[in-house]
C-alpha cells in the first residue's frame, strides 16, 4: 500500500482503477517522478496556491489568451495552466517519436497516392467510398505535385494512455493543428515559477520549434528561389488562435500577414510593404482550405487571396500544409491507419490505433452486435461527434435500438472499445488540493523534404472537471508543461 504522504499530496485521492501517471499500480511513485514528488512535497499547499496565482497573472499580463465568443463582447481567457509538469521518460519518448514520424510519413504517402494513382483504393485496402464521400478531398489537387512531395509539413498527433499503460493514437491533425505556442509558454511559466526544479532534471528544450519549422519549410521552397521569403498567414487578430500565429511569426522572424496584405500578379504572390511589394515564396497558412482563395473555393471568403491557388498550382509559392490534407485526417481514414502503414512501408504500426471494428465485415459485425454495452458506436461519415453512442451510458432499450440500426446499415458504422484516459495529479483551485484529472498528449511533428522533426515535449491537455474525458480548451480544459527527459542515469530517480 501507499506510504503515508505529507504536504501537498496528503489529500490526494488515488482511484486505483485509473492509470495514474504519477503512481504505479502498487501506489509507488514512478521513477521519473520521484525527485519531483520530493521537491513539490516540500511546499505547503498555500505556497503552491500563491505560485499558481502568480503564474495565472503572468499569462494574463502577457496577453497569452484566447478569445471566447459570448453573447455581446468577446472575452479573453487564459488557457488554464497547471504547475505540476507531466514527465515522460527517454525510452518511452523515443518509441513515441518513432511512431509519430512513421505515422506522418504514412499519411503523406497516402495523400500523394490519393491525389495521384490511387493505388491503395484500386487495391481495395481503403474503400473508395471513404475518400469519395469526403468533402475534404480537393479535386483541384488531383495530379498536382506539391513542392518536395510534402503535404503534411506540420502534424499534431493526439495520444492517450489507456488503463493498460500503453499509448494509443486518438486522432491525427494535419490541417492546421494548433497548440504549440502553449507548449512554449507553459515551459516559460513553469521556469519562472519553479526554476529550482529544473536543476534536478534534465529535460529537453522546446524552444527549438520555431527554428526547425522555418528550416523545414525552407526545404520545400519553390523551384528557382534562392533565399525564400516565408510568411505566416492568419485570419486576423479576432481569431481564437491569433496569439499562436503572432508568436510563431515572431519567433521565426517572419511577417505575419492577413489575406488583404497579399495579392497575386503573374501567378506570383506579393505582400504590400511600406516600400512597395515584396515576393512571398512560402506561406505557413493558418486558414482552412475553403478560405484560401475565393476564386477557387468559397466565394464569400474575405480571409484568402484571389489567385493564390493559381500561383500555387504554377509552383510559384508553397503552401503549408498543402491544400487537401483534410481528407486523410478524418475519422474513417483513421481506422485504416495500421493498414495504410503496412501498405506503403510494409511495417507494423509502432503506435497503437484504438482498435476499430468495421461493421461492414461480417465477423466484426457479430462481435459488435453482441458487445454494444462495452463499445462506442460511431457513424463512418459524420463529423464533430454527431451520432455517437457510448455503450455503457445506454439503457437496455437504447442498446436494442442501436443494435437494430447497425444491423440495418452495417456499412455505415464502426465500433471501438471505450477508452479511458490516464490521470495525472492536477491542482484544483476550488478545493485547494491535488486531484486526479484525465490527460492526453498532443505531439507536434514537422516534415521537410529531407528530414523530420518531432518536438521533444508536447501539449498535455487536462480535463479540469472531475471525471470528464474532454480536454478541449473550449470545454474548460487546461494544460501542463510536458518534460521529455534526456537519456541519462541522472534521471533514474
Amino acid at each position: 500500500m501507499a506510504k503515508k504522504q505529507k504536504g501537498i499530496f496528503s489529500k490526494y485521492d488515488r482511484n486505483p482503477k485509473l492509470f495514474d501517471e504519477l503512481y504505479d499500480q502498487q501506489g509507488e511513485v514512478n521513477d521519473v517522478y520521484k525527485k519531483l514528488f520530493k521537491l513539490y512535497g516540500q511546499h505547503s499547499i498555500e505556497d503552491y496556491a500563491e505560485l499558481n496565482g502568480r503564474a495565472k497573472a503572468s499569462f494574463f499580463n502577457q496577453g497569452i489568451t484566447f478569445r471566447v465568443y459570448s453573447d455581446e463582447k468577446t472575452n479573453e481567457k487564459i488557457f488554464p495552466f497547471d504547475l505540476f509538469p507531466r514527465i515522460i521518460g527517454a525510452d518511452e519518448w523515443a518509441e513515441l517519436e518513432r511512431g509519430v514520424v512513421q505515422r506522418c510519413k504514412a499519411l503523406n504517402a497516402f495523400l500523394w497516392d490519393l491525389y495521384h494513382e490511387q493505388n491503395i483504393l484500386k487495391d481495395g485496402v481503403v474503400p473508395m467510398e471513404l475518400v469519395g464521400s469526403s468533402e475534404n478531398f480537393l479535386e483541384q489537387m488531383v495530379g498536382f505535385d506539391p513542392p518536395g512531395g510534402i503535404y503534411n509539413h506540420i502534424s499534431g498527433t493526439d495520444l492517450i494512455r489507456h488503463t493498460d499503460g500503453k499509448f494509443y493514437v486518438l486522432e491525427d491533425n494535419i490541417r492546421c493543428p494548433s497548440g504549440v505556442s502553449y507548449v512554449l509558454s507553459n515551459r516559460t511559466a513553469l521556469k519562472r515559477a519553479l526554476f529550482g526544479v529544473f536543476n534536478h532534471y534534465n529535460a529537453h528544450t522546446v524552444t527549438n520549434y520555431a527554428e526547425n519549422l522555418l528550416d523545414l519549410l525552407e526545404t520545400v521552397k519553390p523551384a528557382g528561389v534562392d533565399k525564400p521569403n516565408t510568411v505566416v498567414l492568419t485570419p486576423g487578430m479576432y481569431n481564437s488562435a491569433f496569439y499562436e500565429h503572432s508568436y510563431l511569426a515572431k519567433t521565426m522572424g517572419v511577417e505575419l500577414v492577413e489575406g488583404r496584405d497579399l495579392y497575386v500578379e503573374n501567378d506570383f504572390v506579393y505582400m504590400k510593404t511600406i516600400h512597395g511589394r515584396e515576393r512571398v515564396d512560402i506561406i505557413y497558412r493558418r486558414i482552412d482550405d475553403q478560405f484560401l482563395d475565393p476564386l477557387e473555393f468559397r466565394k464569400d471568403s474575405t480571409l484568402g487571396v484571389p489567385g493564390l491557388f493559381a500561383a500555387y498550382r504554377k509552383g510559384n509559392v508553397t503552401l503549408a500544409n498543402a491544400p487537401g490534407t483534410g481528407v486523410a485526417d478524418d475519422k474513417a481514414v483513421y481506422t485504416y491507419m495500421p493498414e495504410i502503414i503496412q501498405y506503403y512501408f510494409g511495417e507494423e504500426a509502432i503506435l497503437h490505433n484504438v482498435p476499430t471494428y468495421h461493421c461492414s465485415r461480417k465477423e466484426e459485425l457479430e462481435y459488435v452486435l453482441d458487445n454494444i454495452a462495452e463499445l462506442v458506436i460511431k457513424p463512418v461519415d459524420e463529423a464533430g461527434g454527431y451520432g455517437i453512442s457510448i455503450g455503457n451510458t445506454l439503457s437496455p432499450e437504447e442498446i436494442e435500438e442501436v443494435r437494430n440500426t447497425v444491423r440495418a446499415h452495417p456499412r455505415k458504422y464502426v465500433a471501438q472499445p471505450i477508452m479511458s484516459l490516464s490521470v495525472h495529479p492536477t491542482y484544483i483551485e476550488e478545493t485547494q488540493s491535488f486531484e486526479q484529472r484525465h490527460v492526453d498528449l498532443r505531439s507536434f511533428a514537422l516534415m521537410g523534404s529531407d528530414r523530420e522533426f518531432v518536438l521533444k515535449g508536447g501539449l498535455t491537455r487536462v480535463a479540469l472537471r472531475r471525471g470528464n474525458l474532454i480536454v478541449n480548451s473550449s470545454q474548460g480544459g487546461g494544460s501542463k508543461d510536458t518534460w521529455v527527459l534526456k537519456k541519462s542515469k541522472k534521471n533514474a530517480g
Binding site: 484500386k122 469519395g132 475565393p294 466565394k299 484571389p306 489567385g307 498550382r313
Partner: protein, 283 residues
C-alpha cells in the same frame, strides 16, 4: 472542313457603392484542342485595370483582372477569333460500344477514374424520388439511351429565361419545370450520373445561326462518357449533340467549376452584372 468564328464577349458590372481591391476572373476563352484553334484574342476593360492570363484550379485558361479601386462601374470586352473543325459526333465504330447496363460501369477502376463525374454535387443532386422521373426504356445502346435522355430533358423543361439563376437547385427547377441552359445541363447530368454514367458540365459558346436556344449569353451543355467511345457532348436545351456550332470553354462537375465570371469585391451594397455574347460565323 473548318469554320471560322468571331466571338465578342461583353460584361458590365456596377456597384451601389464603390468597391476597392476588386478581382474579377473570366473563364471565357475557348479551349484549345484538336478541333478548336485560336486565331486572335483581345481583351480590354474600361478602367485600364491590370489584367493577366492564368489558370483555374482545373487547368482552364482564365483572365484575371485586378483593380485597387474604388470602382463603381467597369466594363470588360473580349474578342476572340477561332477556327473550329467540323466535328461529326457519329464518327466512331458502333461495335466498340458495349451493350447498355453491362458490367463496365460497375468496375472499381472505372468508378475511381471517373469518380469526379459520377458523384452528385449540390447543383446536380436529384431531389428524393425524382430519379424515377426518367425510365431509361427508350433506345438500345448507350448512345441511343443518352440521346433519348437528351430529348426527354428538352421536352420536360420549358426554356424560360429569368426564373432561375446559377444557384438554383434541381429541386426548384423540377418544381418550376422551367429553366435555362445550365438547368437543362444539370438535370441531364444528374440523371446520367444516377445511372452510373460519368457526366460533366460544359460551358461555352453556341453559334445560333440555326435558331437554337441559348440567348445572347454563354451557353451550357453536358458531356457524358460513352463506354467504348469517350466523351460525347449533349445539348439538352436544343435536343442536339454538341458539334460544329458548340465552342467549348471549360468543363467541370457543375456550373460552379465553370462560372464565366467571378468577382471578388470588398464593399457594401448590391451589384449588377450584365453580359452580352455574340458569335458570328465568318464563312
Amino acid at each position: 472542313m473548318a469554320d471560322c468564328f468571331r466571338i465578342t464577349y461583353n460584361a458590365e458590372n456596377s456597384y451601389d457603392y464603390p468597391v476597392t481591391a476588386a478581382t474579377w476572373q473570366f473563364l471565357i476563352l475557348p479551349l484549345e484542342n484538336e478541333s478548336q484553334h485560336h486565331l486572335k484574342f483581345e481583351f480590354s476593360n474600361s478602367l485600364g485595370a491590370y489584367w493577366e492570363l492564368s489558370h483555374s484550379g482545373f487547368g482552364f485558361r482564365t483572365i484575371r483582372v485586378r483593380s485597387k479601386g474604388p470602382v463603381s462601374r467597369i466594363s470588360f470586352t473580349a474578342e476572340i477569333s477561332l477556327i473550329k473543325e467540323v466535328v461529326n459526333p457519329f464518327a466512331f465504330n458502333p461495335e466498340m460500344v458495349p451493350p447498355f447496363n453491362g458490367p463496365e460501369l460497375k468496375l472499381q477502376d472505372f468508378r475511381l477514374t471517373f469518380a469526379r463525374y459520377i458523384r452528385p454535387t449540390h447543383l446536380t443532386t436529384l431531389p428524393p424520388g425524382s430519379a424515377a422521373l426518367y425510365s431509361w426504356d427508350q433506345g438500345e445502346g448507350y448512345l441511343e439511351k443518352l440521346q433519348a435522355l437528351n430529348t426527354w430533358v428538352y421536352e420536360y423543361l420549358y426554356y424560360t429565361p429569368g426564373v432561375t439563376d446559377v444557384d438554383t437547385s434541381l429541386e426548384e427547377v423540377l418544381g418550376l419545370n422551367k429553366g435555362v441552359c445550365q438547368d437543362f445541363a444539370h438535370l441531364f447530368i444528374a440523371l446520367a450520373r444516377n445511372k452510373g454514367i460519368p457526366a460533366r458540365y460544359v460551358s461555352g459558346y453556341l453559334h445560333q445561326g440555326k435558331g437554337y436556344f441559348g440567348d445572347a449569353q454563354m451557353h451550357a451543355w453536358a458531356e457524358a462518357w460513352v463506354p467504348g467511345i469517350g466523351w460525347i457532348g449533349f445539348d439538352p436545351t436544343n435536343n442536339i449533340l454538341a458539334a460544329s456550332n458548340h465552342i467549348k470553354v471549360a468543363h467541370g462537375r457543375d456550373y460552379d467549376d465553370c462560372a464565366p465570371l467571378k468577382g471578388i469585391v470588398f464593399g457594401e451594397g448590391e451589384n449588377t452584372s450584365q453580359h452580352a455574347v455574340a458569335v458570328q460565323s465568318q464563312q
